[in-house]
């Protein structure tokens, strides 16, 4: 019987999982919406008044209007752009830090490992939300600070996982073989070991993505996130006061938008792990 490569096999497993495909589809839609909103093709006029203050949802205004008569639907789309961009930016910052530190620590051991372990235990000992708040306070408010803050706090998990995997792999025969034919540290680590632990990065990213989105919402809710742009967090903050007056649509809109993407990422993350982690194969 012809055996498939890990990636091919994984893709095959994933394509069999209808729920995961559905989740993937949702994620893709969110990305498309975010890109289109970022390019200014949709929801560019979110700050315009479209009707009276606090109109209930109707065919004209799908999710009603907010206190200033702006369309909640358009604000949701802008919020999607903010949320997705935060997820991507946090991943772009966190993955290199996590992978490089984790790989170096796992491969070299000794004082390098001691240092990296000390660094990430220190980071993880501070409650995450505290760390986020202090970073945004230092850097000043705005979406850029949110990117940096989330990037700088979310590498810890990945770093730990990569470190462990690299430790395991560096004793394997294929690495020893690479050494025997004259491969240096750099070659062994980046050409041989890393491609074999790459699936961890993918699984972890899909998990981290939702953490980043959630954190952005929390920060914006607290007034520390994006400023002057709609975010799901600020929409929920607005709704906090409006709810007693029976204005539920901002809360509902933001919650549904958040719920869908978080659920999708969760399912996708699980499916990816099932598909990519050889230890779970067939279970």
């Amino acid at each position: 019987m012809k055996s498939n490569s890990l990636w091919k096999d994984a893709f095959y497993r994933l394509s069999k999982d209808k729920l995961a495909l559905c989740a993937l589809f949702i994620v893709v839609i969110y990305f498309l919406v975010a890109v289109m909103s970022g390019a200014g093709w949709i929801a560019s006029s979110w700050s315009q008044e479209v009707g009276a203050s606090n109109l209930a949802p109707s065919l004209d205004h799908l999710f009603g209007t907010d206190i200033f008569g702006r369309s909640v639907f358009q604000k949701l789309i802008r919020g999607t752009q903010v949320a997705m961009s935060v997820g991507v930016a946090a991943a772009v910052i966190a993955i290199p830090i996590g992978v490089i530190l984790g790989a170096l620590a796992g491969y070299f051991g000794g004082w390098v490992d001691d240092f990296v372990t000390w660094l990430y235990t220190t980071f993880s000992s501070v409650p995450n939300i505290m760390l986020l708040i202090s970073i945004t306070l230092i850097l000043g408010k705005g979406i850029f600070s949110v990117y940096v803050a989330l990037g700088a706090t979310s590498w810890v998990n990945l770093c730990r996982l990569i470190r462990g995997e690299v430790m395991k792999h560096k004793e394997r025969e294929y690495v020893q073989a690479a050494g025997a034919i004259g491969g240096g540290h750099f070659r062994k680590l980046f050409r041989h070991i890393l491609p074999n632990v790459g699936h961890i990065i993918i699984i972890n990213t899909s998990m981290q993505f939702q953490v980043a989105i959630k954190s952005e919402v929390i920060l914006s809710y607290l007034g520390l996130g994006v400023q002057g742009e709609p975010s799901w967090g600020t929409m929920i903050d607005d709704a906090k006061l409006e709810l007693v007056r029976g204005v539920w649509w901002q809360l509902a809109g933001a919650t549904i938008a958040m719920f869908l993407i978080l659920l999708a990422f969760n399912i996708l993350g699980d499916a990816l792990r099932d598909a990519l982690d050889p230890k779970l194969k067939g279970k």
């Binding site: 700050s47 203050s53 206190i67 200033f68 306070l137 408010k141 607290l222 007034g223 520390l224 400023q227 002057g228 600020t234 903050d237 607005d238 906090k240 006061l241 007693v244 007056r245």
Partner: protein, 584 residues
């Protein structure tokens, strides 16, 4: 067996729940929306601590509970002081036979009589550098010799209270004379604030660090021990002096039934029970269950309590609940940082002011109940003139555009984006969003900067802002407290956070503040208020309104801005309470 225990427990619970309404004693049920830091008057920097301290401690003077505009009357002092011709020496005679609460701090546990020494001691305590009193600013650089005494004691191992101070003299056992460095017409207001309430030396020394939990005052109620919990229970002070309910008030007070208790000995209730409830929903429910007699309506519940912003909801009306709407002595504003060369441009300031639709803001954020501020001074203070209209607070986009063009920025061209700093709180943010949306119409871009409260204060005191928004509430009923916000020597880190400087204003202000209260001073204040308005040093916002609900059985409630001494005048009608309680 277990079931039986459970059943008995449940029964006890039901009985205890149903028995919690007391119709034999006059109990006053109040809510405090914040935790109380303790009962040391010199540290009472927030209104809520001040309210609790005012039940057990007293000052030399207090505000009349009924008369408006606010009027000082003697409390521990026997009469209003005699002031020397130069306005520098205040001689105050104390009432005879005022007793401190019984306390183990005194000999045989019996409270002794109040003396002039207690006043001197309490003022010195406020200045004691070791205690870091939060109220020191009140008397800083005011009384001859007090600052020097403070300086001397900074390095000393222990503060020496025995040393005599020139400006703080005992004339006889019941008379004190204060000598001021310069005229300070607000001095008596300072003595009426909780910071300057009188404490006995014995209690401070006996309880040491625990003094803040063992209040020993002369006040109408006693609280032997204060424990950090969600409930504070005060009982009537049995040795309280003969103090009577006032027999005159503002016009119409007798019609409102506020004089029904005239001449009766106060306090009128036997007990005050204060529940500390921070969240607005439980506060609201507690009032609806008649577990509180008085409630400041939480903003979130406004719409369900007050229909259309005016009428009390029928289900509340049917229970006899009454609504009180009261203009506050405050002003909200957007302040420019006048250090920024951009805002030296008067036309730009005026254009921004005219582009803001205050009518809409009032509707969205204050239920249309706030008064648009024409200038700094709120209604209710000398210096406010009802007829005065500031031409630059009118919403007029065409005029705003014209002014902006004259300022050199036609349609906002060439004008950088302006960031306004505010508190990170929902409504504060929404107000700026509204302002930004309005100013976009004339081509000005506004950005929001969100800050925690200490951060915002820090930015303002360090001048690290372009614009900021805040509200100012009166410390005492004198327009000086508001006009001072635009006085150049008060610039940051002082209270003039906008760093506005205007020589003509400053000269006039200096003259006015040295005058004693009267029509002459009010005329000065009017002129100051109206000339500065046109210069648009700020974008003026609103004078807000506070809404209270009171149960039908609560008597004598009248809104007071400075209400720490108010509770002794409140009364409970037990008959009405018994009758109406069935409806709850």
């Amino acid at each position: 067996m277990k079931a039986a225990v459970l059943l008995i427990g449940l029964l006890c619970l039901i009985i205890s729940c149903s028995k919690d309404r007391n119709f034999d004693e006059r109990e006053l049920h109040l809510i405090s929306p914040e935790k109380i830091a303790g009962f040391d008057p010199i540290q009472a920097s927030d209104m809520y601590s001040g309210n609790e301290i005012g039940k057990v401690y007293e000052g030399l003077f207090e505000f009349h509970p009924l008369k408006r505009p606010y009027e000082l009357m003697p409390n521990l002092a026997d009469a209003l002081p005699s002031v020397s011709a130069d306005g520098l020496t205040y001689t105050i005679k104390l009432k005879q036979g005022v007793l401190f609460h019984d306390s183990p701090a005194f000999k045989e546990g019996k409270g002794r009589e109040l003396k002039a020494d207690d006043v001197i001691y309490s003022i010195k305590r406020l200045a004691d550098p070791k205690l870091q009193a939060k109220g020191w600013w009140l008397l800083d650089d005011k009384i001859i010799g007090l600052n020097e005494w403070r300086e001397k004691n900074v390095a000393a191992p222990a503060t020496t209270y025995d040393e005599e101070i020139e400006g703080l003299k005992k004339i006889d056992a019941l008379t004190v004379a204060f000598k001021l460095k310069k005229p300070y017409p607000q001095f008596l207001y300072a003595l009426a604030m909780p910071y300057a309430f009188i404490v006995p030396k014995e209690a401070v020394e006996h309880f040491g660090k625990e003094f803040l939990n063992h209040p020993v005052g002369t006040g109408p109620f006693i609280l032997p021990v204060f424990q950090q919990s969600n409930r504070i229970v005060y009982t009537k002070n049995p040795t309280f002096r003969e103090k009577l309910y006032p027999s005159e008030g503002e016009e119409g007070d007798d019609k409102r039934g506020l004089l029904a208790d005239a001449g009766k000995k106060i306090p009128l209730v036997d007990k005050i029970i204060v529940d500390i409830i921070v969240e607005s929903q439980p506060k609201w429910l507690s009032f609806q269950k008649a577990r509180a007699d008085l409630l400041e309506i939480p903003k979130d519940n406004f719409d369900s309590a007050v229909l259309g912003g005016k009428e009390l909801a029928p289900e509340l009306k049917s229970k006899g609940i009454r609504l009180f709407a009261n203009a506050q002595l405050d002003v909200t504003f957007f302040a420019f940082n006048h250090d920024d060369p951009l805002f030296k441009n008067k036309k730009l300031r005026q254009a921004m002011s005219m582009a803001w639709d205050r009518g809409e803001a009032n509707k969205l954020f204050y239920n249309s109940a706030a008064v648009e501020a024409q200038s700094v001074i709120p209604p209710g203070l000398g210096g406010y003139r009802k007829e005065f209209r500031n031409p630059f607070i009118k919403y007029d986009l065409d005029m705003a555009k014209k002014l902006l063009a004259e300022a050199g920025y036609p349609n906002g061209k060439g004008l950088p984006a302006i960031t306004i700093q505010t508190r990170n709180e929902t409504v504060s943010r929404q107000i700026i969003e509204h302002f930004a949306k309005n100013l976009e119409k004339i081509g000005i871009t506004i950005k929001v900067g969100m800050n925690t409260w200490p951060e915002l204060v820090n930015k303002v005191t360090k001048r690290q802002h372009q614009m900021y928004t805040m509200a100012w509430g009166a410390d005492y009923p004198d327009a000086e407290n508001f006009l001072g916000l635009l006085y150049c020597p008060n610039a940051s880190p002082g209270s003039n956070g906008s760093n506005y400087c205007n020589q003509d204003f400053d000269t006039l202000f200096k003259t006015a503040t040295l005058l004693q209260d009267g029509p002459e001073r009010s005329a000065f204040y009017e002129k100051l208020n109206e000339t500065v308005a046109v210069d648009s040093p700020w974008i003026f916002g609103f004078h807000r309104t506070k809404f209270y609900l009171s149960q039908a059985w609560l008597k004598n409630f009248k809104f007071m801005e400075f209400n720490h001494s108010q509770f002794q005048y409140l009364n409970v009608d037990l008959e009405v309470k018994k009758e109406l309680s069935k409806k709850f």
